[in-house]
Symmetry: C2
Subunit: 434 residues, 2 copies
């Protein structure tokens, strides 16, 4: 007996059915927004990740040398791949480019609740627009997708922030702006809720702020008073404040403002974010970490050798989303459903197969015996797959030019003429014949 690798999961049909329902919803809403599906490779050159995130990223990758001597990695995220694809087509693609896809990614990291080495995301991105409505459309998409899953404004909130406000404030407040590591300061903000306060302030000091300045900075972002921040900051900060306000106004136009709250203590951990960033949280706090996040990454395409191409996106991860849906009681039921089971008993194989076929042609989910099992075993199987109706095809039934229709909930059954069943259309149940 072989064992599954740690951090990888097998999804049996009940759980997979629920997950599929969730993927389908995330994708159906993306399609309504005019996002188009793309398909992407599972392997890329390791260099692409090293250039973007530094040599230390390799420790977290499934990185290896292929048989042609190439240094390759299982993709840990989609963004570099789609950036590569945008660059490869150059000016051929008309802007804005709106793409989505659902697929697994891989990271060699510690396995914990809701975090695996193989994990699934639905990535949704817009390339080629710096307009606030692009950020707003991503936020509105995410809100629509979650409400389509049955979640409400009481279940989740998007904490919306802006990297240029954080970065601009840091540089404005610092005694020596040239000595400040803005990215390190933003990474410190991302750690704010995850570490002790002293450690957090220490990280800001490590980034080049005096401790008193660090405290002043933290007070400003914790208060989140945009007017006060614009007053303290320079033109860059003022522009970022205006951009953030424009995004929230456009989110209002798209009907999703109620799900968003201003939260300048939100920063996102990845260095490539540039403007508006946001994280989705469980409003009740039961799911303590961010469920997923997104934001703007205006510089990435250019850094990959493409034309300057602003970009914004979001990537709901399915495992944390499952935790939120389960907490909120909207995770889909994990059980199969089946319209008909055609129960074949006696020398009736041909007729049972034909009835099965006719019901499938009508578009229904239909199973029949393919194992030569007894009446009782078939009935038990039909019960296990939650068959709504069992169609019993027995020798006596056929002698009467009929079949027996059995309702699996009540156990009631009745004989129905082959003139009336299978029907020419529709999906009749016992009640239609009783």
């Amino acid at each position: 007996m072989y064992d599954r690798l740690k951090g990888f999961r097998d999804f049996y049909p009940d759980e997979m059915g629920a997950r599929r329902e969730v993927f389908d919803t995330l994708e159906a809403v993306a399609r309504q927004y005019g996002f188009r599906e793309v398909g992407t490779p599972a392997l890329e050159r390791t260099q692409m990740y090293v250039d973007k995130s530094g040599e230390e990223i390799v420790d977290e990758l499934y990185a290896f040398e292929d048989k042609g001597g190439r240094a390759v990695s299982l993709t840990p995220e989609l963004t570099p791949t789609v950036a590569r694809m945008v660059v490869a087509k150059g000016q051929e693609l008309s802007k804005p480019i709106k793409w989505f896809s659902t697929r697994p990614f891989w990271r060699y990291e510690q396995v914990q609740q809701g975090r695996f080495r193989e994990f699934y995301q639905t990535n949704v991105d817009i390339f080629g627009s710096s307009d606030p409505r692009a950020d707003a459309e991503i936020l509105a998409y995410a809100a629509d997708a979650l409400t389509a899953l049955g979640l409400t404004g009481d279940d989740f909130e998007f904490r919306v922030s802006h990297r240029d406000i954080l970065g601009g404030l840091v540089r404005e407040l610092a005694d020596d702006p040239a000595a400040v590591d803005t990215r390190a300061a933003i990474r410190a903000v991302d750690k704010r809720a995850k570490v002790e306060r002293a450690e957090y302030l220490g990280l800001l000091v490590d980034a080049g702020l005096d401790e008193s300045i660090a405290r002043e900075f933290d007070d400003l972002i914790a208060d989140g008073n945009l007017d006060a921040i614009a007053a303290v900051g320079d033109e860059e900060v003022a522009a970022a404040v205006e951009n953030l306000q424009d995004v929230l106004a456009a989110v209002e136009d798209f009907g999703a403002r109620e799900y968003c709250e201003l939260s300048l203590t939100t920063a996102r951990g990845l260095d490539y974010y540039t403007g508006v960033v946001f994280e989705c949280f469980d409003s009740t706090g039961d799911v303590s970490r961010a469920v997923f996040g997104g934001g703007r990454y205006d510089d990435l395409i250019e850094s990959f050798g493409g034309q300057p191409t602003p970009a914004v996106g979001v990537a709901p991860g399915h495992a944390p989303l499952q935790l939120l849906c389960e907490r909120a009681g909207v995770w889909p039921e994990e059980a199969p459903s089946t319209d008909y089971y055609v129960l074949q008993v006696g020398d009736t194989e041909t007729e049972a197969a034909q009835i099965t076929r006719e019901l499938r042609v009508l578009g229904h989910v239909v199973e029949t015996d393919v194992a030569g099992r007894s009446f009782g075993a078939q009935l038990e199987y039909a019960d296990g797959i939650n068959a709504e109706t069992v169609v019993i095809v027995g020798e006596q039934d056929l002698a009467d030019d009929a079949v027996t229709i059995k309702d699996m909930k009540s156990g009631d059954q009745t004989q129905v003429s082959l003139d009336d069943f299978p029907p020419e259309s529709g999906r009749p149940t016992y009640e239609d014949y009783e």
Copy 2:
């Protein structure tokens, strides 16, 4: 600029849309047959493939050592993984088990037409039934899936064979059955149409048959006269002939006999097949290799440490299937479709966003400007995404409490009152208002 790895593909939206339509069809038909979706890991222990196929298989795998020192491989096929999953649950799963899934697999092999290092398959399997109806259901599923794609009996044929007929004949005809390598002989049959006749006969001789016996064997399987074969063979061959006839009779019951032809020169290359095997071919021969194949593998689960569990399955590969569909002219159109583009011009952002939202709530595919582009640029974009209807939201329109509805095919347009648009239901076009 980074390059994509050789043998891997990026699917941009037009091609991906067509592929998605094909996946959806293969999966929808599987669901109608009561197959349930499973989700499976991309990585498994390399040992699983070595035990099944020998040490030389590693040359074809993306095999490497992970950071925990495990020898792992990107999965080259689904069968070992689902066998592992069946074994892991033991008696918990009620039989027959009917599973499907669509996903990529990886093999480090020469790249050629219709063959890639990353390739996609929809796997459909039944575990726990040795009944001929299980084989027949797999064949009927495959036929239904192909006809649902628009293919007809003139486009494809399933060449159906039986490994126990081939193996039994080899042992029966050989002077010294103990000296014959049955698997090697079956692999020789699999090569019959791919190599010169002399080489093929040489392979049979290498497998332990005298050359005259090899010729006699080949005449028997080429003629495919089941009565003659049953007369020559032993009980095992007679039983296999009967099983094959029962499968074809059950396929007839399921309405798929017309797509099947007896072809004992079909063998399938993989060693784990045990009973009925089949390959799908392009009837015109334009696609020269087998499009896909399937068959019985009754011993695999037991060899993985499970209870004896007969199994049968099929796995259409998407790239060869695309070649067949393109040859037959039924590959889906590679172009986006969009119900509405809401064109925003002047100071009408809020109203345009609200109209967009209302149309999306109705379930339509709707795009609007998220890039602050000109009237002309928006119209060009709407044309590029094949928008059926453009809804122009201009300041003058709004002053009239109206929008302008433009038919993108004819270019005709008319003003429609906001009382009538967006509608409460339906998807009205220009013609509904002209």
